[in-house]
């Protein structure tokens, strides 16, 4: 019988996978799951699909109705953690209750980066981070004809795409010289831009909004080149910042909460995972906040194993993103715009067919890549990168149309110990016996 108390802050990707991992080892200890949002577990990644009307609310729920009962967890929803006392191992929540814990997972995620803009308080100006945000936007869509999206990143463009499919006229204002400047190179970003433009979305790069116009309600946006346009809705997508405030001065913090190989913070009974954590990035070779769903799930899971006594090392993740606009898929990972002579780029492109494959190498190891349209082999490349496989033997065919997992088989034989998943050995076992 285990009789500890684990407090899990956040019921999103990191929190949920932590709970599930704990329960694999420990069925009895008390788990309390706190979330300031009122909703049962949902996926915030799906909010732009929900905005677009592509899915209904029911599809946002990523766990069953009986989840908390099934996992023997006490949910404290619509409850904000007000403070964490690391000396007495307690958290204080809204309403005044104080909860003791033996171990804490801090999975408080991120918030939309706030911008300082004249007129930002006007009605009709939104960030898109929570289901409540999405519901508020949806509630006013009927009276909206034109939309301004400020920011050319994943969330901004997903929102733009969704709203344009709702029949709205969408203007995207991007400060950088191209869209997706964080996750794509110029060539691939331009393919996506053209596709969006051809489908009626206006994209203006190299410009910034300086004021949101209107009386009480948003009526338009003024740009830094002096031009203005009408719109009734503004969505701001300027990135995410980690919700670190509750642990400020209590644990080591950089851009996010610093964690070790076990996802432990500098206090060994407090773990952190997800958008709030600064975990190891294998391809950058240094800690980094990778605010993506798969990293949050992985980190939450490994933290949960460690919390419940099963020592497990977090192998690190890398940056990765996937988009699909109007049927053109684009996936990228790791370092996509290398700077420095130690990098090498292998590129195959066919602009007229929207096909693009680029792999970035450093010392004959893959460190990043971009695939447009022909995306199916993305994971093959990414796992070669994450395992630091020497690809010299297949370098000349790496971005070929005919490259596939079959070409990796001889590498598994030669670099057996680097391929850590048992499935690699399954696939390789009879090949090895040929010789």
């Amino acid at each position: 019988m285990k009789d500890k108390t684990f407090v899990i802050i956040g019921n999103s990707a990191a929190g949920l996978s932590c709970i599930e991992a704990i329960r694999e080892n420990d069925k009895d200890s008390k788990i309390i799951n706190i979330s300031q949002e009122a909703h049962p577990p949902y996926s915030r990644c799906l909010l732009s699909y929900y905005l677009a009307g592509a899915i209904d609310k029911e599809r946002l729920w990523v766990r069953s109705k009986d989840y908390y009962k099934d996992f023997n967890v006490e949910p404290l929803l619509k409850t904000e953690v007000a403070s964490i006392d690391e000396k007495n191992k307690t958290v204080k929540v809204s309403g005044g209750r104080t909860i003791n814990f033996d171990c804490l997972l801090f999975g408080a995620g991120g918030s939309a980066k706030k911008v300082d803009l004249k007129g930002i308080d006007k009605k009709g100006v939104f960030y898109l981070r929570t289901l409540d945000d999405a519901d508020r936007i949806r509630a006013m869509l009927k009276c909206v004809k034109d939309v301004a999206v400020l920011g050319g990143g994943l969330i901004g463009l997903r929102a733009a795409y969704g709203l344009s499919r709702q029949g709205k006229k969408v203007h995207v204002i991007v400060k950088s010289s191209h869209v997706f400047s964080q996750i794509l190179d110029f060539e691939s970003a331009d393919m996506i831009r053209q596709e969006l433009v051809q489908n009626g979305i206006q994209i203006r790069t190299g410009l910034a909004a300086v004021e949101i116009l209107g009386k009480e309600k948003c009526e338009g946006v003024l740009l830094d080149d002096g031009s203005r346009f009408e719109c009734q809705l503004v969505i701001i997508g300027k990135g995410v910042s980690a919700n670190i405030d509750l642990l400020k001065d209590k644990v080591k913090i950089n851009e996010g909460i610093i964690v070790d190989d076990y996802l432990r913070t500098s206090q060994d009974f407090i773990y952190a995972a997800g958008d709030v954590a600064e975990g190891y990035d294998v391809l950058e070779g240094k800690p980094s906040v990778n605010a993506i769903w798969p990293a949050a799930v992985r980190q939450g899971k490994i933290a949960g194993f460690n919390i419940s006594g099963q020592k497990t090392i977090y192998e690190g993740s890398c940056r990765m993103n996937s988009v699909d606009f109007f049927g053109i898929a684009c996936i990228s990972f790791g370092i996509v715009r290398p700077q420095g002579s130690e990098f090498e780029e292998l590129i195959h492109g066919n602009l007229s067919k929207n096909i693009y494959r680029k792999i970035v190498l450093k010392n004959n190891r893959i460190v990043g890549g971009i695939l447009v349209t022909d995306v199916e082999k993305h994971g093959v490349y990414m796992h070669l990168a994450l395992q630091k496989i020497d690809i010299s033997d297949i370098k000349d065919i790496l971005v070929d149309e005919y490259f596939d997992f079959g070409k990796v088989i001889p590498l598994i034989k030669r670099q057996k110990d680097s391929f850590t998943r048992p499935e690699y050995q399954d696939a390789n076992s009879t090949y090895t016996s040929i010789f």
Binding site: V62, P294, A329, V375, M382
Partner: protein, 163 residues
């Protein structure tokens, strides 16, 4: 957990693609070779025959991984690994075609079903059959539907026989 999946004996595979055809037919609306070809959208295979090097081929699909990256990556949480059978299944109804699973799969086992509706597609081990269609169709008997330990046993025996 003893996950049963498809193993390919590379020493027997001749790259004839019979498995691909059988897979596509099994996952067609009509389930008939001649009618399936006429279907629109064309039924899609979920197993891939690949050239490794001169005279060496393999057929590979979803590995129903022990620790599946696709499950962790799916932002709609619609991919699950069955606790009892170990099989990894996609709940296509909830799939939003974000390709996070494709992004994460080390074996390129997932494809996009693009013709009518965008959905992620992969080997489902033929739920309506005793033995998956690809395994039944292979003329050289290169494919096996079994658990890792049985596969390993078979491989060991083979080496013993050779000696």
């Amino acid at each position: 957990m003893e996950t049963k999946k498809i193993f390919c004996d590379i020493t027997k595979c001749v790259g004839c693609r019979a498995c691909e055809l059988a897979c596509a037919v099994e996952h067609s609306a009509t389930r008939d070779l001649f009618l399936a070809i006429l279907e629109s959208p064309r039924p899609k295979k979920r197993i891939d025959t690949q050239f490794i090097e001169k005279d060496v081929f393999q057929s590979i699909g979803c590995q129903h991984c022990d620790d599946p990256p696709c499950v962790e990556a799916c932002m709609a949480s619609c991919i699950h690994k069955d606790k009892k059978t170990g099989k990894v299944d996609i709940d296509t109804k909830r799939c939003v075609a974000c390709w996070m699973c494709i992004m994460a799969c080390p074996f390129a086992a997932i494809s996009r079903k693009a013709a009518t509706e965008n959905k992620a597609l992969k080997c489902d081990l033929c739920p309506e059959r005793e033995c998956p269609a690809c395994v039944d169709s292979c003329p050289t008997r290169a494919l096996y539907h079994e658990a890792r330990k049985d596969w390993a046993k078979r491989e060991k025996n083979k080496v013993l026989i050779k000696k």
